[in-house]
């Protein structure tokens, strides 16, 4: 295998890793907020369901969850696993797992808001949703941004767990080429990719955090 072909395959794996990364964030960030709100809702049943869901997501390995989502339909309903199911299963597993982590971050952020903000909003005639959307949530984002950054950075590295479903992302490809060519180079390339991607994401998050520094709470 020529160097060029190797690089092209690795490049394709890289795009797939980034695809998992961005799609997971796209789904898990809003889903996490929804879970957090249910976790804090008045309904005891809803709260319990969410608590159990979160504890399972955080208490079992993500790799196991990937396998469960992928093979679940087959073992449960005897469904045929279609060609595109692999990728969907990965996104579902990642989104549902990360939503649980994000939910706990949202919840602690919302819980850290002083009661006075709610009381002031109430006296100024804000509705419940207005209070949350205009007053509480914008402040929560600023408070939780460092914790979100941690999870986002972890996610970059976690995308490599998709190798357990033999999905052709960066790590899977690197492993395959390395085995075939008995070369260590693909691993180095993979390492470099994760490291640089990490640095870029960290830089972007830092910029966002700085942009939110126009006020201090």
């Amino acid at each position: 295998m020529s160097f060029q072909v190797m690089m092209m395959q690795l490049g394709q794996g890289m795009l797939k890793s980034m695809g998992i990364f961005f799609l997971t964030l796209l789904f898990s960030l809003p889903l996490g907020l929804l879970v957090a709100l249910c976790r804090m809702s008045k309904s005891g049943i809803l709260r319990t369901i969410m608590r159990v869901y979160i504890s399972i997501m955080r208490g079992t390995p993500l790799m196991l969850q990937l396998l469960a989502v992928y093979f679940g339909p087959y073992y449960l309903f005897g469904a045929k696993l279609g060609k595109n199911w692999r990728f969907s299963a990965i996104i579902i597993a990642f989104a549902v797992n990360y939503a649980a982590y994000f939910a706990e971050i949202y919840r602690s952020g919302i819980g850290s808001m002083p009661a006075g903000q709610y009381e002031a909003a109430r006296l100024l005639g804000y509705s419940k949703s207005g209070t949350f959307l205009r007053i509480i949530f914008p402040q929560v984002i600023k408070r939780i941004l460092p914790a979100i950054t941690n999870e986002v950075i972890t996610l970059i590295k976690d995308t490599s767990l998709s190798f357990s479903l033999a999905y052709a992302e960066m790590f899977t490809i690197a492993k395959q080429i390395a085995a075939k060519e008995t070369s260590f180079m693909p691993f180095l390339a993979a390492a470099l990719f994760y490291y640089v991607f990490n640095a870029l994401v960290a830089f972007a998050m830092e910029r966002i955090e700085k942009a939110m520094n126009y006020y201090s709470a």
């Binding site: 903000q117 009381e119 002031a120 006296l123 005639g125 914008p138 006020y215 709470a217």
Partner: protein, 252 residues
Amino acid sequence: MALLEMKNIRKSFGDLEVIRDISLRVDEGEVLSIIGPSGSGKSTMLRCAAMLETIDSGEIWYMGERAAWADGHGGLHYPKKAELKKVRSYFGLVFQNFNLFPHFSVIKNITDAPIHNQKRDRDEVYAEAKELLAKMGLSDKADAYPCQLSGGQCQRVAIARALALNPKILYFDEPTSALDPELTGEVLKVIKSLADLHIAMVIVTHEMNFAREISDHVMFMDKGIVEVEGSAESVFNTDNARMRAFLGKLRH
């Protein structure tokens, strides 16, 4: 017709009875000061009036409309949503620690609620807000954020924010207690200017000279009951032993 009327209010937190059968009435343009040692239930009384706390028994009326009433069997009732909203628009509250919205600039703190909650015209609201800021001596702070202001400036913004909704009555819960002594004066001056504008106020304060000067009516509370009330002169010259002891303590 009374602007605010609270009848036979009782309120407990668990086993602690904080308000024991207090009634009060405020007419339009009237200033009532509530004084008393800390823990006597002054804030709770104000928070009940502002409907931030529930009441265990009694009734609250605004402008001749019932705003909240306990039925004596443990139930608490409010009017229908639209009426409740109207009732809530009658009053505003200025907190001891301001509770400004830190992510909003000064002008946005003042204009956001009138625009989004009262659906008023944006330009009109902004023009009024600028006038209010000028009145508070804060014209140059419109675009500042609360974290860039002194405590006294924050409190004046909080007063402007409450006034922007055109309430009929404003509640103040120790508006100067969180301020350095040298910043107290500027806030008291602003509150005094409101009294001159004929806005009704209920003020919980430890500033006795101020209370004496500004109030039409003064209530001295102790342990959840009203010990003395009446005109400022009569209350400050009372021979009630608890009131005398309270004033004596403040002086030392």
